[in-house]
């Protein structure tokens, strides 16, 4: 094992930069040349099977663990005192709680999207990032799930939101978008989890066979369920995987659609809008890819995965960000247009209040982050520079948070009757909960990187030239 590691560290591969032809004329491949089944397998599995993790991982893990403490502390205080510790009030009944819920759920969309939709679209470049993205999805959904669960006034009665037979034959009220949320989010979490696990099975088998200590062999062995790569299994496996992708595609679209219903179904100016579903879905993809970039760029550096997560991936993700960013920006413009065209004084005031009210700073920041920053992606030099991509992605992460702020509290704080207008500010508990949920996300992510292959090994194998060769003949 050790010598494998060294090999990784010292190995120098010829990169496109060293060649005579200017880089930009060479389409960057999905896997850098010179890899074999063995090298791919060993490299990726070694990240998991090695004894010591890189320093940066350890630091991240330590910090995120501390943030998890902050989270638990906050939750404890919340349960003790009540949601009053947050900044919510009348008229702003939803603040950071639902805001962050939507933000996390949005981030959670990239994973399934990449694995499912890009799979159906035969975008093979997805292969080296889908595992990572799916994991990110799960953890983002986990962080998101905290909020609806804890934002209620009496969280210990949350189970009333689930349909279970009871002596009073009391059931949930299925007309409520919140019930739709319960079903959408839990379904999404379950299906993503299964999708992810199914994708892991062959790699778990690989780890089982590579592992050199008893415990690891036992655990990975149990998890891989005795996978042995039989051709018949592979066939059913691929069928199932494809079907799951087919199911996940409408699912992932439905989830953020339903989340957007939380707002669209109400009649609050700024919420009550028919085009929220597509707008929110686009926003979700946007946020998701931004977060994948935010995490993938450092990860590929730390774990030397430049060969598998190549410039091509980063560039494509940059393009997706650009496209979805444009959709989102278009949505902002449409909101303005509706406000003007509807002739409804309330709608008008809502938008005026956004651009000129007490929270206008938020709005302009939003335009900069979500509207202007992604425009950088028009330039190939930026698209292909990890640093620029990272910065842009960061802007988008912030921007998507601002978007939800502008939609939720800014619409609530000045609605129909001026007499009940108010202001909203997050308290320190709002912030600690938010930071804590980020901690939870990173914490889970670190564990994932430590114990599971962050790149799908078997799918990578299929991308290698030696794997391709036969396909050609097979199709003759």
């Amino acid at each position: 094992m050790a010598e494998v590691e060294d090999k990784l560290v010292h190995e120098v591969r010829p990169t496109t930069q060293e060649m005579r032809i200017p880089a930009r004329f060479i389409p960057s491949p999905t896997v850098e040349p010179g890899h074999t089944f063995a090298s791919v397998t060993d490299h990726i599995s070694s990240i998991v099977l090695r004894k010591r993790m890189p320093l940066l991982w350890t630091i991240t893990f330590a910090v995120s663990a501390m943030l998890v403490m902050v989270l638990t502390g906050t939750i404890g205080w919340l349960l003790l005192k009540g949601v009053g510790i947050w900044g919510i009030n009348h008229p702003v009944g939803w603040g950071f709680d639902i805001l962050n819920f939507v933000w996390w759920i949005g981030i959670g969309h990239a994973g399934t999207l990449i694995s499912a939709i890009l799979l159906l679209l035969r975008q093979e470049w997805r292969t080296s990032i889908n595992r990572f993205a799916e994991a990110m999805t799960l953890f983002a959904v986990a962080s998101a799930g905290l909020y609806p669960a804890l934002h209620t006034g009496r969280p210990w009665y949350d189970f009333w939101l689930f349909p279970y037979p009871n002596t009073m034959s009391l059931w949930p009220q299925f007309r409520s978008p919140l019930m739709w949320d319960v079903f959408a989010v839990s379904t999404y979490a379950t299906v993503s989890m299964m999708f992810w696990y199914v994708g892991l099975i062959p790699d778990l088998a690989t780890l089982r066979d590579r592992a050199n200590n008893k415990l690891a062999q036992l655990v990975y062995g149990a998890l891989s369920m005795g996978w042995r790569g039989s051709a018949k299994h592979w066939y059913r496996y691929e069928t199932a995987y494809l079907l799951l992708a087919g199911l996940s595609t409408p699912l992932v679209l439905s989830v953020h659609t339903i989340v957007s219903f939380d707002f669209a179904v109400s009649q609050l100016p700024g919420w009550h809008s028919t085009f929220f579903p597509p707008y929110f879905v686009a926003g979700a993809v946007y946020a998701g890819f931004a977060m994948v970039l935010t995490l993938a760029i450092p990860a590929r550096k730390i774990f030397k995965l430049q060969d598998f997560i190549t410039m091509k991936h980063l560039e494509n993700m940059g393009k997706v960000m650009l496209a979805t960013g444009m959709i989102v920006f278009y949505a902002y413009l449409m909101e303005a247009f509706f406000a003007y065209y509807s002739g409804n004084s309330l709608e008008k005031y809502m938008y005026l209040n956004r651009i000129n009210g007490p929270y206008r700073a938020m709005f302009y920041a939003l335009i900069i982050c979500n509207g202007l920053a992604p425009q950088l992606m028009w330039v190939k030099r930026f698209r292909t520079s990890p640093v620029m991509l990272f910065i842009t992605a960061m802007f988008v992460n912030v921007g998507m948070w601002l978007e939800r702020f502008v939609i939720i509290p800014t619409s609530l704080h000045r609605d129909f009757l001026p007499s009940s207008w108010g202001m909203y500010h997050g308290t320190k508990w709002d912030w600690s909960m938010y930071v804590g949920s980020i901690g939870l996300f990173l914490f889970l992510l670190c564990l994932f990187i430590r114990y599971l292959p962050m790149i799908s090994i078997f799918e990578m194998r299929t991308l290698l030239p030696e794997a391709q060769s036969h396909a050609a003949e097979a199709h003759e």
Partner: protein, 981 residues
């Protein structure tokens, strides 16, 4: 080392609860020193501290009292309003008639009693001063009754003592007074009780040298003296606004304050309820407003003026107004405010005389007080005598002069010079700290007495419950001083009236009716004295910034400072609670450097800056609050705050004490105040429940949003729809739900809402609504189910004001219901939008989706589950909400259901008849602006009002089909007067 005063210890004693802290303090040498300085002759006993036995006894007894005593009906026979106490059915409330007094003048009330526990106060429909209406202070009296901070034991120098010990200590003093006469003084507040009056006369007779002083911080001296100058002798003026076509108010707030204001509001608005095809004419109100009064907010023409300008105006009213008055000779009223100097009242009476109003719209009667005096002079006399060492013993019945005497009297210094001082008062307050003997006073619902209404009508005050906290009534104290030690108040009152020729039946009838029919004082022939010549013009020089001191609309002179309901009640015009601020006009604000953008930055956060107000060398630091329509160059401040002692609610940092700048020669302030913004201080938070739109006219969407519909009477006659057509059909994808049986609904006539807040407290009392405290109110978390929205229209310098009470709209297509995931809110079959509290998980989605924002959420555990004293106060028919639960107006569903059960018991046609059930707010409203009933009953009042052309639904375009709807505001400005300036 700095000498500590008792004050320091009072501060130190805060929080810990009196007994424990005294115990601790008693072991403190500084304290002993301080006591010896103040009570040289009493140094010894305190060193002992408090006997632990007494302490335990007291604590346990106070708990027991709160719980158990609450269930005892008084021993004497009291007579229920509707049925005999013998017929008390468990679970069914009984109603008793009695009266509550403010400033000595009473108004009849009915008190709802559950199993012997008074829980709710309503106006007495038969009583001329109430006619069934009630105001916030009357409604809140129920909390005052159970207030655990009330004084609970007789105290001697703060130590627990006994009633008999007090009597014992009294004897030598009395004997002394008997022998050498002078030296014994009695200080009371305004007294209209014939019995008590007689007792005091007896007392004065028994002790020839004795003198009787009266003092009330918010007194009617100006009115008394003004009328005396006018008619040569103390009299009382009773107004009949129902007969007046034109009313001119010179800084008078007759609709919201002063004796008979409930009756006046009813009479006045009876001429403003415009009904299609029935109303031929409206009355007209001109108001010259020196502050921000409810009366001004209802006026057809309102002018903000400096207090000093009033006299000039009284002597020469604008031509247009005079014309209008002339045109309505004998059918008009000119009325001056209590704060105006006597001369103004004299002039105004002369004017009324000239207009032939006296005898028609104004009745002059004998005074209602048993002994009208100039109370300011009376107190001045007392202080002078004390300083001259002529006072050996002072017995105070009620009142808190140490807190509320004029600043220049230095009453607290004078007081400590009196060798023997005793006080009877409901709280252990600032004055109590300086007396030797303090006796807890009974609450009006605990003791027997009698009182006169604004027109002299006498009511017998009957107790609803045995004294909770060992209280003693003034009748007992005076009785004891006369010598009748065992004479109970019941005996005194009964004896007095039987001596006056009452018999058992009449007595029972009086108790039952809550008044002595025909006891109103008869009109008296008066000759107007020649009008004194105009003085040196505006009093106290109109120059410079003018300080304008007013009693607080909620806590009056400070006596209600410990009443949480009143403290948290948004003041009618400013919507500020939990403190007093300095009101200034937008222009003045700019002049003193608190300009618009500075303000609009702060006002969103419900914050402001503070300023140091200096008047005659004394300084108070107050938050500045800009009030549209406030006169320029005037600084209006409210009394009653900044209490240093007198209850847990009143004391800690609640508001600022204004009395230090109130001087005997400028009781309502004067010119020459200086103001300086406090620099280098971050924004000061003010608990204001409604601000934004008033500060920035651009944000005032009341009109564009069709929240307020308003028009003049002339316009109404042209177009009764006031320019609005109900263009919103109720298109729906679904067939509308049909309500076969009842369909409860409410119509609120915004024309006659004075914003008096009676309904708000009535709702709070009826529905066990918790208070949340200043910080939470500032975080916009107040819990009131019913709020009164106030909107301005027009220039901030002098805008039109609109009041709009907003309870739950009980929408038929309630937006809150479909979004609740657990069916915690759903529709009843008679169309109520019900909350199922114990099913609510608190997602707050319903509140977000409520366009009217009438839902209230328990962000914390606001309800007080622990204080034993408050438990018996609560309405047993209404759940107390816990943390994390949404709550809202239910149209008093408990009352509705009770009525339905009654109707069913009647059998046959099981419908509830119109008027058999009404909500707490509708019942309290003095002007009957709120009407509740069954929409499906075509003969009901509410059904009729729904047919009015000026009727409209709030935000009807949302197709929520609200059951609560409004009648547009109709005013009757004088066409000859352009604009309001």
């Amino acid at each position: 080392m700095k000498e500590l005063t008792l004050n320091d210890f009072r501060k130190r004693a805060e929080g810990g609860g009196l007994y424990r802290s005294l115990d601790e303090l008693a072991r403190d040498d500084d304290f002993i020193a301080a006591v010896e300085r103040e009570f040289p002759q009493q140094a010894l006993p305190l060193e002992r501290g408090v006997d632990r036995r007494d302490f335990v006894k007291l604590m346990s007894s106070s708990l027991a009292l709160a719980g158990l005593a609450a269930c005892n009906r008084p021993a004497e026979k009291i007579v229920p309003y509707v049925s005999q106490p013998e017929s008390l059915i468990p679970g069914r409330p009984l109603y008793f008639a009695t009266a509550l007094a403010l400033g000595g003048v009473g108004a009849g009330v009915l008190v709802e009693s559950h199993m012997g526990r008074p829980t709710k106060i309503e106006g007495n429909p038969d009583h001329p001063s109430s006619l069934g209406g009630s105001d916030a202070m009357m409604q809140a009296a129920i909390l005052g009754l159970y207030d655990p901070d009330r004084a609970q034991v007789v105290r001697h120098l703060g130590e627990i003592a006994t009633w008999s010990a007090f009597l014992a200590a009294l004897q030598p003093v009395l004997k002394d007074a008997k022998s050498n006469g002078a030296g014994l003084r009695l200080l009371t507040q305004t007294i209209t009780s014939p019995t008590l009056g007689a007792q005091i006369q007896q007392l004065l007779a028994a002790y020839p040298g004795m003198e009787w002083h009266q003092w009330e911080a918010v007194s009617r001296d100006n009115v008394r003296e003004g009328l005396r100058m006018a008619f040569g002798g103390y009299t009382n003026a009773v107004y009949h606004f129902d007969k007046a076509n034109v009313v001119v108010s010179l800084d008078s707030d007759f609709l919201a304050a002063g004796p008979g204001h409930l009756r006046y509001a009813r009479d006045f608005t009876s001429r403003r309820k415009v009904r299609h095809g029935q109303t031929a004419s409206m009355n007209r109100l001109y108001s010259f407003d020196c502050g921000a009064s409810s009366t001004g907010s209802l006026a057809d023409h309102r002018w903000p003026v400096r207090p000093s300008e009033i006299e000039g105006l009284a002597r020469a009213l604008p031509a247009a107004i005079m014309k209008d008055l002339e045109a309505n000779r004998g059918a008009s009223i000119v009325i001056a405010g209590d704060d105006q100097p006597p001369i103004v009242h004299t002039v105004v009476m002369a004017l009324n005389q000239a207009l032939g109003n006296i005898g028609s719209t104004i009745t002059i009667t004998d005074p209602v007080e048993v002994a009208p005096v100039n109370q300011l002079e009376s107190l001045r006399q007392l202080v002078t005598d004390i300083n001259a060492g002529a006072v050996k013993a002072l017995v105070m019945l009620g009142g808190n002069p140490v807190y509320d005497a004029p600043a220049d009297f230095n009453f607290h210094h004078a007081l400590t010079k009196v060798p023997f001082r005793a006080q009877l008062s409901p709280y252990y307050d600032e004055t109590s700290m300086l007396v030797h003997w303090h006796v807890p006073e009974v609450h009006a619902l605990e003791g027997w007495s009698d009182v006169r209404g604004h027109d002299g009508t006498i009511s017998i005050v009957q107790p609803l419950i045995a004294p909770l906290y060992n209280g003693r009534s003034p009748h007992e104290v005076v009785g004891a001083m006369i010598g009748g030690l065992d004479q109970s108040p019941y005996d005194s009152v009964r004896a007095y009236w039987f001596a006056k020729g009452a018999n058992e039946q009449s007595w029972r009838k009086w108790l039952h009716d809550g008044q002595i029919a025909g006891s109103a004082l008869p009109a008296r022939q008066v000759a107007i004295a020649p009008l004194p010549p105009a003085g040196e013009g505006p009093r106290s020089g109109g120059e410079g910034l003018q300080l304008h001191i007013r009693p607080d609309p909620n806590i009056h002179d400070g006596r209600f400072a410990n009443n949480g309901w009143l403290q948290e009640l948004p003041k009618p015009q400013t919507k500020i609670c939990w403190e007093n601020v300095a009101l200034i006009s937008p222009k003045t604000a700019n002049d003193i450097g608190y300009d618009d953008e500075k303000r609009s930055a702060l006002v969103n956060e419900r914050s402001t800056v503070r300023a140091d107000v200096t008047y005659r060398g004394r300084k108070v630091r107050l938050p500045l609050w800009v009030m549209p329509g406030h006169p320029d160059g005037v600084l209006t401040v409210y009394l009653g705050y900044g209490r240093t002692y007198g209850g847990k609610v009143a004391t800690p940092e609640v508001g600022v004490n204004i009395y230090p700048v109130r001087f005997s020669d400028a009781m309502s302030g004067g010119a020459g105040a200086e103001i300086a913004l406090v620099g280098g201080e971050d924004a000061y938070p003010v608990a204001c429940t409604q601000e934004h739109q008033s500060i920035n006219p651009k944000d005032m969407y009341g009109q564009e949003r069709e929240i307020i519909r308003a028009g003049t009477f002339a316009e109404y006659q042209r177009d009764p729809h006031l320019g609005h057509k109900e263009h919103h059909g109720d298109e729906s994808m679904y067939p509308p739900h049909v309500y076969k049986n009842h369909a409860w609904a409410m119509v609120i006539d915004t024309s006659v809402c004075t914003g008096c807040n009676g309904c708000v407290i009535a709702c709070q009392a009826e529905n066990n609504i918790a208070i949340v405290g200043k910080t939470e109110v500032h975080r916009e978390r107040e819990l009131h189910w019913l709020r009164i929205d106030r909107y301005f229209r027009g220039e901030p310098s002098n805008p039109e004001v609109f009041h709009q009470p907003v309870p739950c709209m009980q929408c038929e297509n309630a937006p809150c219901e479909p979004v609740c995931p657990v069916e915690a809110t759903s529709h009843s079959d008679d169309g109520l939008n019900d909350m199922t509290y114990n099913r609510c998980v608190g997602t707050r989605y319903c509140s977000n989706n409520c366009p009217y924002k009438v839902r209230r959420f328990n962000f914390f555990h606001y309800a007080d589950y622990d204080t034993p004293a408050l438990k018996p106060m609560r309405n047993p028919d209404v759940t107390i909400r816990t943390r994390g639960v949404m709550e809202k107006c239910t149209y008093c569903v408990q009352r509705v259901n009770e009525a339905k059960i009654e109707a069913e018991k009647r059998g046959g046609n099981q419908r509830v008849r119109d008027g058999e059930v009404t909500t707490a707010c509708a019942q309290a409203c003095p002007t009957e602006a709120i009407v509740f009933g069954d929409m499906n009953d075509k003969t009901s009042r509410v059904a009729a009002l729904k047919g009015e052309p000026a009727h409209y639904a709030l935000l009807a375009e949302l197709n929520t089909r609200p059951r609560t709807t409004y009648l547009g505001t109709i005013r009757n400005p004088n066409p000859e007067i352009k604009g309001t300036s």
